[in-house]
Symmetry: C2
Subunit: 214 residues, 2 copies
């Protein structure tokens, strides 16, 4: 990992076009070839390019250089005016990285094992059940033999309601003799989404954020 502090301006062309006027910034070049350019604020870089680029240095003079990072479709050029510092460090190259807990996937798994928390007497029919409109997260059945199509989300938005309705319609086609209900189970259901869901007869269940402790 190489960290360069330099006065520079930057031009990017590819998926979009961006440019930055001259300023003193931190340039981080990593082992995999990725590069990011940082100002002294925000955890996000001002500009960046992923691994897999070709890095070339065009030395006009000792203090006038153009660094080019190029892939087939994109190019990032750093016009170096003055280098303040240029250091390389050796980090762990077997870094296991980040482990996530409590994602939607965990929640879905837990709900599959505890369907009665969604509604009294509910039992699991299938997980990721394939309908004509895509796979529904959970397919349940209530004590009256009605099918329950459950869409699990961290945050439920209005599009989630329409998504659930498509599953319900597809299931009604598949099982013409059954009654089918749509449910949304989410950590966060927006007020607007709730209103829309009620209008379209979709039930929303909010899961407390500490569901893991149950």
């Amino acid at each position: 990992m190489r960290i360069v502090i330099a006065k520079c301006s930057v031009v990017y062309t590819g998926r979009g076009d961006t440019r930055m006027e001259e300023a003193v910034r931190a340039i981080i070049i990593k082992n995999d070839g990725s590069v990011s350019i940082h100002a002294d604020k925000s955890n996000k870089p001002l500009n960046y390019m992923g691994k897999g680029n070709v890095f070339t240095v065009d030395k006009k003079t000792k203090h006038k250089q153009v660094w080019t990072f190029e892939t087939r479709k994109e190019s990032l050029q750093i016009f170096i005016t003055k280098i303040v510092s240029d250091t390389s460090f050796s980090l762990s190259n077997d870094d296991a990285g980040l482990v996530r807990d409590g994602t939607e996937n965990h929640l879905q798994g837990w709900l599959a094992e505890n369907p009665q928390t969604i509604g009294y007497g509910f039992t699991l029919v299938s997980r990721e059940f394939a309908t004509g409109a895509g796979a529904v997260d959970l397919l349940l059945e209530d004590t009256g033999g009605r099918l329950i199509a459950v869409e699990v989300k961290r945050t439920a938005l209005s599009a989630t309601v329409y998504q659930t309705l498509r599953y319900v319609d597809a299931l009604k086609d598949q099982f013409p003799d059954k009654e089918v209900l749509g449910y949304i189970v989410a950590l966060d259901v927006r007020p607007n989404t709730l209103i829309l869901a009620e209008k379209r007869k979709v039930v929303c269940v909010t899961v407390p954020s500490n569901w893991k402790e149950l």
Copy 2:
């Protein structure tokens, strides 16, 4: 801007929960208080926290420290085992940052002024026209007096088709005596999206990525 190279493990709790085993990583602490932790790959940090946190250091011994970054809702703890390097740099504090060109907004503006590029004889009725299902990007009219609801996107996905259909339905309610057509104009239309769009009678128009030069 302070750059620390250290052997450390990390725990984050807040919007989600994450943890990282011990490894040598780069820790970047900026002037606005934001922090990010980097491995020697990817332009993105392994873990981070935005500005506005409270930074406290709990020194067990010279080489055993716990750095805590806390906001009201989140907390990031870095368990420092060994510090390899600890340097501070002064960057521009008046960095003007990034300027973007050629975004979807630009495209939408250009299309509003050149509606005939979408279809022969099309004329602009309104931009960001409010329907009951949200604002449609462009509302046009063809020579036959039909209304054209245009959704402009960089990349058109299947959800875009449903979004357009909701606009079309809402416009039919608003103008029961008019015929209403749905159009998607995008730089990139995925094959699957195209198939779905044809099935639902939504027209897709692909804009060449060099539209700016026209």
